[in-house]
């Protein structure tokens, strides 16, 4: 079983996701970067589960997929709200609250 390749892929996805969250200024792109991290988690869980012959990992991955869908649904709703009021989804422009 080639566990290392899966873990390597997940680690690379995780790093790309974290980089995206920290550098992207577009709200939708930030959400997509977070999705990358969550998918890295899913690959990890399914790979570990298959490696150990345990269904727990796949069940966990199912929960992550379902909850991530809800999370991104709410996230896009909030980004849309910002777009309606500001005509922009640049998160660095959201700077009314500071100090």
């Amino acid at each position: 079983m080639l566990l290392n390749q899966f873990l390597g892929l997940a680690a690379i996805l995780f790093c790309i996701g974290v980089y995206g969250v920290l550098t992207r200024r577009n709200g939708v792109m930030v959400l997509m970067s977070i999705e990358l991290i969550l998918n890295a988690v899913n690959i990890n869980l399914v790979a570990f589960g298959a490696y150990q012959g345990d269904v727990g990992g796949q069940v966990f991955a199912l929960f992550v997929i379902a909850v991530a869908a809800a999370e991104v649904g709410v996230g896009l709703a909030i980004v849309l709200l910002i777009y309606r009021n500001r005509r922009s989804i640049d998160v660095s422009e959201a700077d009314l609250l500071q100090g």
Binding site: L7, A10, F14, G17, V18, V21, G27, V30, L31, I34, I37, L38, A40, V41, N44, L45, A47, F48, G49, Y51, Q52, D54, G56, G57, V59, F60, F63, V64, V67, A70, E71, V74, G75, A77, I78, V79, L81, I82, N85, R86, V91, A94, D95, L96, L97, Q98, G99
Partner: protein
């Protein structure tokens, strides 16, 4: 094709599905709250506009009804375990469930007039609060990574929506956006840590993880997994350096929701952190303790230093809440020498008292904002003239937050210091010194608010007539005042006994 299906069916018949025995009494509080939340939704759909004024009452009653099975379970006293130990209802969980339900009730009381008089009075607000509190009840009992993750998201997702509640207000939008992005990012990091923990130990139950890590010993990858998980919860409890969302979200969100985030949501984050650290990382203090020590020291120091220069009361309380989270983290940094029971009991005691005094302070701010229409400390000048009762209440809550006897806050701090000092270790004593210095710094800015209320003259043109406070807010103030007073005096001993029952 048909043959394959028949083959699968034959296999299923060989191993018929056995429904696991479910202890309905153990999950009764959650079920009552779930039924109540559904009832509120249906009630709103049937009666629409006509029923709106009953929705807050109905939600409040739901919380109180869910408290009944909590009390019967406490009276029963047996630790109940469901789903093979993934969901445990013991006295530790019950204290926390009672705390979450009561703070939920107080927050509903605080929201009643605020929401009814605002532009966005919707019953969905109360449904979301019920959902979030339900997540907290589940969190108190979860002893499994999947359960903790689902409970954490059930708490957070409604809170993202409620933070952005004032749809046309740019500040509220921004509060929601910041909270959502930081929260989702934090839970993604936490999940990555959890996936590594699962992979290295082959189980999602905290107890099995604990024994599996103890067998393997500490490896770099386990260290990484533990630190990722603690970072994820660090965002939820707004520990420095993961606190940046808190002040912005607190200022922009509707004030009752700010109280909800500062008290209930933070407490839930602490419960998750305690469950994971004390159950799963029980035998890894050499990784968890120094990391939490650093978080705790940084959190209280940075929180207090930034709080000093705040001019807005809500932001000030936000940063003071960050600092208080530092005190609450402190017992978790010394759990090895004292035993995890002592640390958990100090944190739970602090959470109960902190909930009462902080909710009280927010209730005073909301009552005062009905006159001042602003959260600036300057606008509190001369409050003694137009709201003497509120001035006294705010003084009590601020004294309690500063840790001055005989109010609850001193007992909470006393418990933390007791745990820090009993082991007589370098890390415990040094953290106690840092906490003591910080308590003095904190007293400075709490006293500054009091100076404005008691001794400064009101600015010209302020309405000097006595302020009328709506009755739900009076009830919220009364509940928080009573809890703040009794936990520091007559009930300090019983509270100590109650939290000493914590069976780990």
């Amino acid at each position: 094709m048909v043959a394959t299906l028949l083959g699968i069916l034959a296999q299923i018949e060989q191993a018929p599905f056995v429904r696991p025995a479910i202890d309905w009494h153990a999950v009764a509080p959650e079920l009552v709250l779930l039924a109540g939340g559904a009832l509120v939704t249906v009630f709103d759909l049937i009666f629409m506009e006509r029923g709106r004024k009953y929705i807050p009452t109905l939600t409040g009653l739901t919380f109180l009804a869910a408290l009944v099975p909590v009390l019967t379970l406490w009276d029963n006293g047996i630790a109940r375990s469901l789903f093979d130990g993934a969901y445990i209802t013991d006295r530790y969980a019950l204290v926390l469930k009672a705390l979450f339900l009561l703070s939920g009730y107080v927050i509903v009381l605080m929201s009643t007039n605020y929401m009814a008089e605002g532009d966005y009075y919707d019953s969905e607000y109360y449904q979301l609060i019920s959902a979030s509190i339900l997540g907290m009840l589940v969190m108190a009992s979860s002893r499994d990574l999947i359960g903790i993750f689902v409970a954490l998201e059930l708490i957070s997702i409604p809170a993202y929506l409620m933070a952005a509640w004032r749809k046309r207000d740019l500040k509220s939008n921004e509060a929601g956006l910041k909270y959502m992005l930081m929260g989702v990012f934090a839970s993604a990091i936490m999940l990555y840590g959890m996936s590594l923990l699962y992979g290295l130990t082959g189980d999602t139950k905290l107890r099995s993880i604990s024994s599996a890590i103890a067998d393997q010993g500490t490896t770099p990858i386990i260290t990484m997994a533990i630190i990722f998980v603690i970072i994820g919860f660090g965002f939820k409890v707004s520990a420095v350096p993961f606190h940046t969302w808190a002040p912005d979200t607190y200022e922009g969100a509707p004030t009752p929701l700010t109280a909800f985030l500062a008290v209930a949501s933070k407490a839930a984050g602490f419960v998750a952190l305690m469950n994971v650290v004390l159950y799963a990382f029980e035998f890894q203090p050499e990784i968890a303790e120094p990391f939490i020590w650093l978080l705790s020291a940084a959190t209280m120091t940075v929180g207090n230093l930034i709080a000093i220069r705040q001019t807005n009361v809500v932001r000030l309380l936000a940063y003071s809440g960050v600092a208080q989270a530092g005190y609450m983290l402190a017992p978790l940094a010394v759990y090895e020498v004292n035993g995890i029971e002592a640390s958990a009991s100090a944190v739970v005691t602090y959470l109960v008292i902190y909930a009462a005094m902080n909710l009280g302070a927010f209730a005073v701010i909301m009552a005062a904002a009905r006159r001042t229409r602003s959260g600036e400390i300057d606008s509190y000048r001369g409050m003694l003239n137009w709201a003497p009762g509120l001035t006294v209440l705010m003084t009590i809550f601020l004294f309690s937050l500063a840790g001055i006897p005989p109010f609850g806050g001193w007992f909470a701090k006393f418990e933390v210091f007791r745990v820090l000092l009993t082991g007589n270790t370098f890390s415990g004593v040094s953290l106690a010194v840092i906490a003591a210095v910080n308590s003095v710094v904190a007293a400075f800015y709490y006293l500054n608010i009091m100076k404005n209320m008691w001794f400064m003259d009101a600015p010209e043109g302020t309405d000097q007539s006595k302020l009328k406070i709506p009755s739900p807010l009076v009830a919220a103030l009364a509940i928080t005042l009573i809890v703040t007073l009794v936990t520091g005096t007559v009930l300090a001993g019983p509270l100590r006994n109650a939290t000493d029952f914590l069976a780990f």
